[in-house]
């Protein structure tokens, strides 16, 4: 056989190579690769996003603005009282060593620096930030997925929900988890892969484990808890749930991070159990230990817990109303079911009330190598003495059926962490924490949160393991390609 007769067969056999090499057929839900600033691109991305979610596309306005423009807008929307309250709270957190002291302008700028886009459910509008590389298709898919949650978000807006960090994390986990599922499937399609191929429970299981490991090293554990919790744990929670089930969880979300971590099958029963703990009125007064260096005048009569409506301050907004000194504990109002603890702190101003929940507290315990017992309830009251730059927190943790911890907070962060572990391990009584609802994104380890590249061309190629297809076995003049050469980096 000579080369002339062999050539046509060679060309014919190469046809699949050329077809595959030149690109495969595009699936209908595949997001286009286009400039998201263009209207037509936006329409096609919305169509792909709706296709993935199995719903009809919506018309959602998209604006593209510069980051500094957004910072100006955001700061103009904040009145001076809110800004002052925020910064007072920041000073308190800084005094506790839990956050850096900073002003609102810096926080908003840091937030924008880390975010490529956002969806505003009230305006029903997506905003893309102009960055060095421009907004990505993936960012738009993500925000359009939020826009397709519009009805649910609208309903949630009108629903009275617990306003604690714990509840907010659980609620947001449903919203972001749902969108993460959509975004991940879009990434698969953009890559030319079948979104049903991977074992997603394994993918999200590894993600939650990795995220928890990162979180244990997070220097701003309270402020940035949402960045670690809501995406990974939300996706893991919703992944095995049907589409109809996802909407059900969006409309009626779990109330605690403990319930989210327990998974969809057990979430309701976990929430019921935790609710019974809060409602049981079994919180007991314990002896109070005050750490050296902070000597607030504390009335040891700590009010019994129990859910109640009403409002002193707002744990989410960082309202800084001064507590009524001398008020009887049993008459103290509550914020979103969080009781105000230790109401008589002379010279100290109430900064906020909160319930941090299992995700935050468990991570502290594991970080220190302690065998964490199941936290069932926690309450925090945070106080700040501006004159002396002192901050004090009063904390109650509950483990097991009737176990109760009463906890003090102080400004030394290490002391607080160790204190929590001692509480777990030795039944001692020291812990400290604080809370804020602001998303401070600087110092954040973005490795586990980074946007994936949608543009296939930007996917890094690993050349280490590429098989060499040159034939290594020959019979006569014909060689079989089953023996593949090894490639080195």
């Amino acid at each position: 056989m000579n080369r002339r007769t062999a050539l046509p067969a060679w060309v014919a056999a190469s046809a699949p190579v050329i077809a595959v090499a030149l690109g495969c057929s595009e699936q209908p839900c595949t997001p286009p690769q286009c400039d998201v600033r263009g209207k037509d691109c936006q329409r096609r991305v919305m169509a792909a996003t709706a296709c993935i979610r199995g719903v009809a596309p919506r018309k959602v306005p998209v604006r593209v603005i510069r980051s500094d423009q957004y910072v100006d807008e955001a700061l103009n929307d904040v009145d001076s009282d809110a800004k002052e309250a925020f910064e007072r709270r920041a000073r308190a957190l800084a005094a506790l060593g839990l956050e850096r002291q900073r002003n609102l302008d810096d926080v908003v700028a840091a937030y924008v620096a880390r975010v490529g886009a956002y969806y505003d459910p009230r305006a029903d509008r997506v905003t893309l930030f102009e960055g060095k590389t421009g907004p990505s298709v993936e960012a738009l898919v993500h925000e359009f997925a939020h826009a397709l949650q519009h009805d649910v978000l609208d309903d949630l807006e009108r629903t009275a929900l617990p306003n604690t960090l714990d509840a907010a994390l659980a609620r947001t986990a449903m919203i972001e988890g749902d969108v993460t599922l959509t975004t991940d499937r879009a990434a698969m399609l953009s890559f030319g892969a079948d979104p049903n191929d991977p074992d997603w429970s394994s993918v999200y299981g590894k993600w939650t484990a990795g995220t928890s490991a990162h979180y244990r090293r997070e220097p701003l554990p309270v402020s940035l808890a949402d960045r670690y919790f809501v995406y990974a744990f939300g996706a893991a929670f919703l992944e095995p749930v049907s589409s109809a089930g996802v909407e059900g969880w969006l409309r009626d979300p779990p109330e605690t991070t403990r319930a989210v971590m327990a998974g969809a099958k057990r979430a309701r029963s976990v929430d019921r159990k935790l609710a019974s703990v809060y409602d049981a009125g079994q919180w007991r007064t314990q002896s109070v230990r005050v750490d050296a260096g902070v000597t607030p005048q504390i009335d040891a009569r700590i009010g019994d817990g129990g859910a109640s409506d009403g409002g002193v301050g707002d744990s989410g907004a960082g309202d800084g109303g001064r507590a009524d000194a001398g008020a009887a504990p049993s008459l103290l109002p509550f914020t979103s079911g969080v009781p105000l603890l230790a109401p008589e702190l002379d010279g100290f101003e109430l900064i906020g009330l909160d319930s941090l929940g299992a995700f935050v507290l468990d991570s502290f315990a594991r970080d220190q190598g302690a065998s964490a017992r199941a936290l069932e309830a926690d309450h925090l009251s945070l106080w700040y003495d501006a004159e002396n730059d002192n901050a004090v927190g009063v904390y109650r943790l509950r483990f097991g059926d009737d176990e109760l911890r009463q906890v003090w907070l102080r400004r030394d962060r290490e002391q607080l962490w160790e204190g929590y572990v001692r509480t777990l391990m030795l039944d001692d009584d020291v812990v400290l924490f604080a809370s804020t609802d602001w998303k401070w994104l600087d110092d954040m380890d973005l490795e586990s949160l980074s946007w994936r590249a949608f543009d296939r061309a930007s996917v890094p190629y690993s050349l280490r393991a590429a098989p060499n297809f040159a034939p290594n076995f020959a019979i006569g003049r014909w060689a079989m390609p089953f023996a593949l050469g090894a490639s080195l980096p």
Binding site: W10, I18, V203, A486
Partner: protein, 118 residues
């Protein structure tokens, strides 16, 4: 599959090939195809050059730290090297070269193979 010319000292063989990329983490296995040619000069101790169109690397999609999809990154590769051909047909081949994908990613290619020619 390849076809070699009949010349003894100077040989050329075009080939086409199909291979499998094994599964990686959560990514399913996939296949790839290649086509190219091998040229040899010499007899017992031979030099060879290889040019092909085919996979020059993996393209891997990693989500949340896990590889979820793998695909061949196609491009053009060229290698040159040495082959020892024993009298009985057994051969050992070692080569080094480079490859570039259609999107411009590039890297070294190397091969270390052995086989038999009956």
């Amino acid at each position: 599959m390849a076809h070699y010319t009949a010349r003894r000292r100077l040989q050329f063989g075009p080939y086409v090939a199909v291979g499998v990329f094994p599964p990686v983490e959560e990514a399913a296995s996939t296949y790839a195809v290649a086509a190219g040619g091998l040229g040899f000069w010499g007899e017992r101790h031979r030099a060879f050059v290889q040019l092909d169109v085919g996979p020059v690397g993996y393209a891997m999609l990693s989500l949340h730290g896990t590889v979820v999809a793998v695909d061949a990154a196609y491009g053009v590769a060229g290698l040159a090297g040495y082959e020892f051909m024993a009298d009985g047909g057994f051969f050992v081949r070692i080569g080094l070269g480079g490859g570039v994908t259609w999107s411009g990613a590039h890297g070294l290619q190397s091969t270390l193979g052995m086989g038999g020619k009956i």
